[in-house]
Amino acid sequence: MLPHPSLKPLYDKLVWVYVYRDFSGSKPDRAAERILLRFGVSSWPQLFLADPNDWKILKHTGRTTESFLAAANAVSVRATPSDQMLERTRTGEELAVRLEERPTTKLAREALEHDDIVARSRALGVLASKDPKFVVKRAKALLEVPNDPFRYRVCDLLKDAADPSAARALEALVTKPIDSLNPNVMRIHAVDALGACGDVRSVRVIAPFAQSGEYFNGLTGKAVDALAAIGKRQKAARKEVRAALKAAYPHPPEEDDARARRACVALARRVHKALGEKRPFPQEYDEKARAKLVNS
């Protein structure tokens, strides 16, 4: 896409920021990481336009000249900056850097309550290892923070803590991953946590994802595993889990595609294992074999 003559007129209409991570933990790498945390970026590459006033992502530009031009010509920014936002960012960045240099529990607890996402993210990183209970107690509010990597981390802590009080908040996140840049990955983390925290109500939320038949999507297998985990822990949920898992045997692909077949059989085997089936998995997994497994 760059350099390109048709993008030249935009060189002066945008402020161009290049964010490169080498994961060395060096000062420039940590500064780049703070920009990622601010915008909730957790996959690469990402290209978007943002409002310098409130950091709001205005538009993803795509990676073609045409899509870039269309996005850049469609956005505008607010005329007056908010002093409150500027101050929030300044103090948040300062706090984040202090935490990088001196990661104490006391400072992290304070930073977790800050309004700036970078300070909160750094705090979460410290508390995840030093005081996870502090995070788990605040899980409901923290799962509403509109930042993907932040919420992934909260979900992972909830999974480890296996705290049933977080089940409803996790279900809400699975049902509607509001403000997520990557709803599928958000759901993977939340479903994984529900496997440890959820109950019979969670089964109804997870089941559609286990039964989607999308054997190329990591979420499908995670949903199957989560259902099995709930069934294992909760006697009251077993009947519902079993019914949900039976319906999760995927339909074999209609087209003659070896890769799709392999993925489909792998998912079917995962369901079979999750059900704790004693009968061997069929040699040939076709519609007839599937129907037999579902109706047995």
Binding site: M1, L2, P3, H4, L7, K8, L10, Y11, K13, L14, V15, W16, V17, Y18, V19, Y20, R21, D22, F23, P28, A31, A32, R34, I35, L36, R38, F39, V41, W44, P45, Q46, L47, F48, L49, A50, D51, P52, N53, L58, T61, A72, V75, S76, V77, A79, P81, T89, E93
Partner: protein, 56 residues
């Protein structure tokens, strides 16, 4: 045929190198410091364009 393959491979490798390079693509006046970029964007009423990449 052989030459075409080499050319295709070279183009592919060049694209890969750019995708995760520490050096930004040629052309625009890139910045690295978000605080400075924000200051400029606010002063000039412009949106920020952010390009996130990493070492692959």
């Amino acid at each position: 045929m052989g030459r075409m393959r080499v050319a295709l491979l070279a183009a592919l490798l060049a694209g890969t190198a750019r995708a995760g390079s520490e050096t930004p693509p040629a052309g625009p006046p890139w910045q690295r410091d978000l605080a400075e970029a924000r200051q400029q964007a606010l002063a000039e009423g412009k949106p920020l364009f952010l390009y996130f990449t990493k070492t692959y």
